[in-house]
């Protein structure tokens, strides 16, 4: 590496440019007004190979990165995954459709309700089941709540990686409040198993919508506080702007999805482009970045949380009364009261639990917009009660595959920031 890299520290608040965006602080480049740097003596140096992970807090799970360094500059990154491989897709071939739902909790364990919804939607499309309106709106609430929770974890951990500890505490405090709501609803915080094919595990408890409404009113204040601390913070800008840039064409070529794709300027959101759960009837914006760097990914995710709050408020306003489960005796268990008094219901319950619900021959690919990106569920059925193939199209898997492309040529400390900006979750990458 011939070019000497100088880190320009922007200690003052840099202000805004004509377009109203924060002025961009160059991370790489010579200091101004000093002419060309003096030629360095050509010392014979060796590249160094270092190993980060699989047990390292900055790799966000059991990700292992083998990094070849020239001084402090990353020459190559070789990611190694698979340390958390549990064979979910193989296990799914031996499970009934409803039995797969607990497995989906454990893929992207930071947004379990959204995964539950994704799988249930695919299975319902395969079986041709129409869910009730209340179920649909409650699922939207679950998806958006888990998007906020996942982005909160992302913002907190990324800020820690870059050196801002306070953000972590503020974000995790809000996450705890959101998890309290999830816990009241499903009884669990992480492994929610919220959905069933054709319905939900349970309706929301009394007074829950009021508590969610209260949280929705208070929560954006935390986002504003974090923005006030980071948005124009010289150190934050210096560490994130022009770092790990992906252009729009590159992002498409590398099959990035979710906030990673949108930060690069591609306005693709599954909720808008392939709507499900009636998302086309909600009024929300899709934030899109301009530069495709770590900073724009931060902006996109912060705005997505605000838009999720908007969707939550609309969903709460329209939440209708009525049953949460589809009126379809094929997949929905008979009510417990009838089960205990009625022989046919007892037999029906027994057969449904022991033999499962057969799906017609066919296949379905259903994409949903998960917090990390496009989560696709590909189900192939041969007419039995267990799928022939259950494929998860994991967004983090494809996003992290672009890490070498993004990080090579940057400093080692930037590699940490870039890796954090991808928002990976190893449960989903390794499955």
């Amino acid at each position: 590496m011939a070019e000497k890299r100088v880190l320009e520290l922007a200690l003052a608040t840099p202000g805004v440019d004509a377009a109203g965006h924060p002025a961009r602080v160059p991370l790489v480049g010579g200091l101004p007004d000093r002419g060309a740097p003096a030629a360095e003596p050509d010392l014979r140096t060796d590249h160094m190979l270092i190993n980060i992970g699989p047990q390292h807090p900055a790799t966000h799970g059991v990700l292992r990165l083998v990094v070849e360094l020239d001084g402090e500059v990353v020459v190559r990154v070789i990611p190694h995954i698979g340390y958390l491989h549990s064979g979910f897709e193989k296990l799914g071939e031996y499970r009934h459709y409803n039995q797969i739902i607990p497995l989906t909790d454990r893929t992207d364990y930071l947004s379990a309700p959204a995964n539950n919804v994704a799988f249930a939607l695919a299975a319902e499309q395969l079986m041709g089941i129409e869910i009730t309106e209340r179920c649909r709106v409650l699922r939207v609430i679950a998806c958006e709540l888990s998007r906020i929770i996942s982005h909160l974890v992302w913002a907190g951990t990324t800020a820690i990686d870059i050196g801002a500890f306070t953000v972590f505490l503020w974000m995790f405090q809000e996450r705890e409040r959101a998890y309290n709501l999830i816990e009241e609803w499903t009884g669990a915080r992480l492994t929610t198993s919220l959905t069933r094919v054709g319905g939900l595990l349970a309706d929301v408890p009394d007074g829950w919508t009021g508590r969610l409404r209260e949280w929705c009113a208070k929560f954006p204040k935390t986002l504003d506080e974090v923005d006030r601390m980071l948005l124009r913070n010289g150190i934050w800008l210096g560490r994130t702007q022009d770092v790990g840039v992906m252009t729009a064409a590159e992002a498409i070529d590398y099959s990035l999805s979710g906030p990673m794709l949108r930060a690069s300027g591609v306005a693709f959101d599954v909720r808008k482009d392939h709507p499900y759960l009636g998302y086309e009837t909600y009024d929300f914006e899709v934030p899109v970045g301009e530069h495709g760097d770590v900073y724009d990914r931060y902006l996109v995710r912060m705005e997505e949380m605000r838009q999720s709050v908007r969707i939550l408020e609309q969903a709460l306003a329209r939440l209708p009364d009525g049953p949460i489960n589809a009126d379809d005796a094929r997949v929905i268990l008979p009510p417990k009261r009838r089960l205990m008094s009625d022989m046919e219901s007892m037999i029906h319950h027994f057969k449904q639990v022991m033999e499962g619900v057969p799906a017609p021959v066919g296949e379905v690919y259903l994409p949903v917009e998960n917090p990390k990106g496009e989560l696709g569920t590909y189900l192939v059925s041969d007419g039995s009660a267990k799928p022939v193939r259950w494929r998860i199209r994991p967004p983090s898997f494809l996003n992290i595959a672009a890490l070498p492309k993004m990080a090579e040529g940057h400093l080692l400390s930037d590699l940490i920031a870039i890796n954090a900006s991808v928002d990976i979750v190893m449960g989903e990458i390794d499955r």
Binding site: I252, H274, G362, V364, D382
Partner: protein, 210 residues
């Protein structure tokens, strides 16, 4: 969504490639088309580049093996034309009596890189021309085969004691990737087929100019 119209790209494919395009169907609203394995790369390249098609986004590459042993393996490409938000599912059938090999599409979509590595790892389908076809979820010298094949038992091929014996006897350095081996010096611990794939690589590792 049943009764949805077939994606117009299928008619375009038939006009352009004739007999290389097999049967097509609309399943749950999505168009699925089967193409010939030898011309798959050419057809996928056309789907990406033709101005009327523009499937510029590779959503997924995966494979399906059916429980019916007679049925061929299916390689499944999920493509999307981002500008039009249209999806197309292209399948390539791989009969089991021939070597499971197809041309890699990494040169068309970079995103297919890890996806094809996963299909190789899980199903044992080789991708000709892939720049770095090694296992991704399992480790490089995993010896039990390809886990998502239907003849692979859920508990694995080896007994628990055999798995433990192998784990304890493993050379930990052999877990390095091929690129790192010049430094790790565990080349000899790798199985023969891995060494064979390693051979055409130029010497990499320490001291190499970027």
């Amino acid at each position: 969504m049943s009764g949805a119209a077939e994606n117009a790209s299928v008619a375009g494919l038939r006009a352009r490639f004739g007999a290389a395009v097999g049967r097509s169907a609309v399943l749950a609203g999505a168009t699925v088309v089967t193409v010939d394995r030898e011309r798959a790369h050419e057809i996928l390249a056309w789907l990406r580049d033709d101005p009327g098609q523009r499937y510029d986004y590779c959503v997924d590459v995966t494979a399906v093996e059916y429980r019916d042993k007679e049925r061929p393996l299916e390689l499944v490409y999920q493509l999307r034309a981002l500008a039009r938000s249209v999806m197309l599912r292209v399948k390539v059938e791989l009969a089991k009596d021939r070597p499971l090999e197809v041309d890699s599409v990494v040169d068309l979509w970079h995103g297919a890189d890890w996806l094809e590595r996963e299909v190789w790892d899980m199903f044992g389908i080789r991708f000709r021309g892939h720049p770095d076809l090694r296992r991704i979820l399992m480790w490089e010298n995993y010896a039990e085969g390809h886990p998502l094949r239907k003849d692979f038992p859920l508990r694995g091929r080896f007994s628990r004691s055999e798995q433990v014996r192998r784990a304890l006897g493993a050379d930990l350095d052999a877990h390095y990737s091929m690129e790192e081996l010049s430094i790790a010096e565990a080349y000899d611990a790798l199985p023969a087929d891995v060494r064979e794939r390693l051979a055409p690589l130029p010497p990499g590792g320490a001291g190499r100019e970027p």
